[in-house]
Assembly symmetry: D2
Homo-oligomer: 348 residues x 4
């Protein structure tokens, strides 16, 4: 019998992504769906593509039945799940949270994150922070296995950390040289229609925003400094007219003589136990990973200028969100890490 | 143990679509891949999204091993597989052919098809035509089950037949009134880069082509006249700037008084045994079926003008091509009709 | 010295379109800009592309100076300008109104229009209706010349009327056979971000809406019946993932024997004095008219089915809105009809 | 009477861009159009948007009449015009060349350029190189005025040079720190349909290419070192799914303490005599310049990391190609520098 999931925040792209994965997951199924708006409606009336697979009614959280939940996904915006997670924790129900609420272990770190996003800087469940783990399996697999609260990383953060951490952890680069130029599809901002992503405004457009002060910076700098302190990152997020996908170009100066082959070998070795990271020496196309949970990474050294470029690509709604969340859940529940998410991309 | 497929023409969108499906098919796997160009290369060097799933070398057909093939898919252009299918037939290997070569039972019908597409009008394997079946499971399920050669329909044809045939077969419309205004994504024309579908030319563009003389007309008129003769179709194909998907609007005048509810009921009844057809009374979005094998159909009667509109949507690479082909294969091999293809669409 | 325009509703796509045209108009300039929101801001802070051309502050209409206005454009939503047009009329200032408020000469016709759009059905300035003219120069050039209130047509309506009216007026088609299948870019709905046109929802999507009951129907049926009564139109509006442009396919049955050449000749003759209509026998690409005020029309007769197709293309923001409005203004003010708008499309 | 242009290579995007501009140019008109293919056809049969404006027959260069040409534009690929420019030079006809053939003054520099693009490294008209000027008016206005051969820069190069040169020329940055991450629309590669820019392949895709070795590097490094030697540039070109436009992010480390305001002031002062450069402190949208000849530049200093970002946007077919070419022609012929190209962008 499959384990039962509750999804809090089921009507956004995160919830949809989870439901799409769960239609093919051998061990998990969604049994309770919650949202703040759009309650009383069947989920397939909101997302017709789910018809025939999930037709659960979306309910208000007050109608929850805690007794039949094996794991909960909080696909909620920042600070929305911060307090309502408590009864799950008290009942020992594992939670994967999609927001920034549980990506940090101290209130101080959280405060910087929250301020970068112009939110209330105080955390409302500070006592839970020490129980939470940053949910990037490639770095924290063992901690995730033993945790009840996993903070699923930001999509930009995943794309940058996976491209950067072999550089910093292995001491391959000089401090003070890291720059990340990242391009995201529109769905990275969630199901939030607004002026900036209105079709006529977004088509044929590219723009930078929150230059050097995007909230994901904090979590990236946390992670890349764990074994080798002192790295800062200049991060320039950008939006391009695509629906899904992030391509990050991470630039740095090498700490000592290196070649592209050296870098490819170092990265391949670093990720040899990570089934969803593919290291390559060829320039990838973002569309290679569409719909899949893979992160493809291409490191390169430019001899003429003495600079390193690491390009990474992910589907922001899969490895950048729901796919990574299920990867975390698989680890937390003792399943095969790849269950339900080992699928190829879809093309074209 | 899974049954073994050969794919002839593995390097186009049809081949890719099959391989994507076969990564999740419980009964079938691809073991031999053939193409005319790009031989000697691994399939995942052509389609990097398949890395980790299929890395077979693409070979020339001369290297085929007929002994270990349970079914063959010919994802080849018109007239490319017309003769090379013979040794498969002689060895009793079932074949699903993606081209127009085996969609007709007579050389006369084939001739009209070929002439509409400005091809050589003579069929080169006329003796096989009587063994072939038009591969639309919703109409020919039993014939397909007993056939060794199935001609997988054209993508436009599937979208129009499924929208039209309840109208003609049930005698719901007047002869001489059928019009189909169909909009297709670019992948409908295969992996054929050219001036018309160069990104700068295709974006922000819509155009009609082969107005009233598209080759799929012949197969549509064949099918919709099977039980109720005398219908003609004025078919206007169009290309819109999307990668995949077809939305067809079929217009007709009713033969007698009717309501939208009547039509919805009649269509629902007609397709009640067809797991991939969904009849609805709401206006569908083409994106509802992206990546899935469903055809969603919405019939409507406009009382003010006395006209019928039936809108159908499919993913041209799934229900319009590879998904439908696997559905045919499932039936031919005695599997569950939905094996490997009962997946929800992917959104957004 | 140039004549002075006021633009009421300057901050939408209609206002922007006018301002773009006015930067190159030899006789007209915009001197007063009004809006309900976004007042107190310079227009080029709203539309940075206007920087260096127009930097007027957007004001509240209460700040208007009627004394220095030679013509006013009301680029306002339905019913927004219905009453505030009165002081302009009383001061004899010519007005081109972009909404449906002044497209009809009777309150009865207006009521049908308003009800189709679920608006208050009563007109608030009924006494002005008899002074207003339907602003399609190709049909009403002389009336427009002598009018003080011109109701600029709906974009879909322009595309359908220009494709249909030679058919009905010249008696070329049977009554009861007209169908229009029209595809519009997203900007046709104005600068109104919402769920339906959020980039991830709109890309890779096509959908029909208000099937057979779109509000533009009333104005189309008004016009096509002027000289030859009794025609009804089944109109299916659709949205495709492009920013600007409308392609309409108008279907009908001929009243007597006809050829494609006959139709092309009849249309060419009909529009011989209309500088912005191009009749062609070749299938046009919607992108041929992007950024221009042209309407390209291709009539075709399908001998096999005995059906007529007339395809028309326009840029919905030019011939479908601001370009047509300036064409009206040119006529009203005695300028060359083409002043400021005789520009080629921009490609790609 | 207008001056007469010949356009060699009239059937590509460069030729089309020139013709669009010339329809509104007060002093110039195109009178002779040449191409290698598509001769004997009217230009408006190739580009229907030009109908009513230009209907010249495209001819083979052998049919040229040198006597009635005041200026020639060579909108030809690399090495196509290298020799055929000679008779123009001998007849004292000014030429603006769109390729890389005349962007360098020495055969050595040209050789590097050619090798980066895998072309024959020998220049076939070396004697002309000393007469040519690099055609960026913002840097070389006076030299252009006195030259008969202007090498119109590469589109990427323009976007990077305008963003970088105040930094290097004013000594604002450290050597060895320059990185340019540039995103281009597809039309930047010309009217060259191919696999990479086939609609289904290009939509929803972003990719890097020729990382650190794109041919435009040579011309950028030439220019940015003119007054302050020793700068190298690590340049990563990328293609995004848009038709036109380039957004470049140029990164560098400051040579001494600086603020964003300092940078904005320095850039504004540097470009104060350049009518097509707009310096801003706000994040620009690429769509702000679509269809216009402007380059918008936003310099920024990130205090936390001590890094500089300069973002520039251009329309690659205007300021990046034809618009800049006409700007050069205006200067060469003694017209107002802005004649025919001082138009706002078109939106949306």
């Amino acid at each position: 019998m499959k384990k039962k999931c509750a999804i809090v925040g089921a009507t956004g792209f995160g919830g949809l992504g989870l439901l799409e994965i769960l239609t093919r997951h051998p061990e998990l199924e969604a049994t309770q769906l919650f949202a703040r708006k759009e309650t009383g409606i069947r989920i397939n009336d909101i997302f017709p593509s789910l018809t025939g697979f999930y037709d659960n009614e979306v309910k208000d959280l007050s109608e929850i039945d805690y007794n039949s939940i094996d794991i909960a996904f909080f696909s909620t915006p920042d600070q929305a799940g911060m307090e309502i997670i408590k009864p799950f924790f008290e009942r020992n129900i594992p939670v994967v949270d999609f927001s920034g609420d549980f990506r940090f272990n101290t209130v101080e770190e959280y405060k910087i994150y929250a301020e970068n996003k112009s939110m209330i800087p105080e955390h409302k469940s500070p006592e839970l922070l020490k129980h939470s783990v940053y949910g990037l399996p490639e770095l924290n697999r063992e901690k995730i296995r033993n945790s009840k609260i996993v903070g699923n990383p930001g999509c930009f953060a995943i794309s940058m950390i996976l491209a950067s951490i072999p550089l910093t952890e292995l001491g391959l680069i000089k401090k003070g040289t890291l720059v990340a130029d990242s391009k995201s599809g529109v769905s990275g901002a969630g199901k939030n229609p607004g002026a900036a992503n209105f079709y006529p405004q977004r088509h044929e457009n590219v723009n930078t925003y929150r230059e050097g002060r995007h909230q994901h910076l904090v979590e990236v700098e946390n992670m890349i400094n764990i074994k080798n302190d002192g790295h800062k990152l200049f991060f320039i997020p950008q939006v391009v007219p695509i629906s899904r996908g992030i391509l990050s170009n991470v630039y740095a100066d090498p700490s000592s003589k290196v070649t592209s082959d050296d870098l490819v070998s170092a990265f391949a070795e670093y990720y040899k136990k990570s089934p969803f990271v593919r290291v390559t020496s060829k320039s990838p196309n973002l569309s290679d990973v569409r719909g899949s949970n893979f992160c493809v990474i291409r490191p390169l050294y430019d001899e003429r200028t003495g600079k390193i470029l690491v390009t990474s690509i992910i589907d922001n709604l899969m490895k950048g969100q729901s796919g990574n969340a299920v990867q975390n859940a698989n680890i937390m529940l003792g399943f095969d890490e790849t269950a339900g998410i080992m699928v190829p991309g879809t093309f074209p």
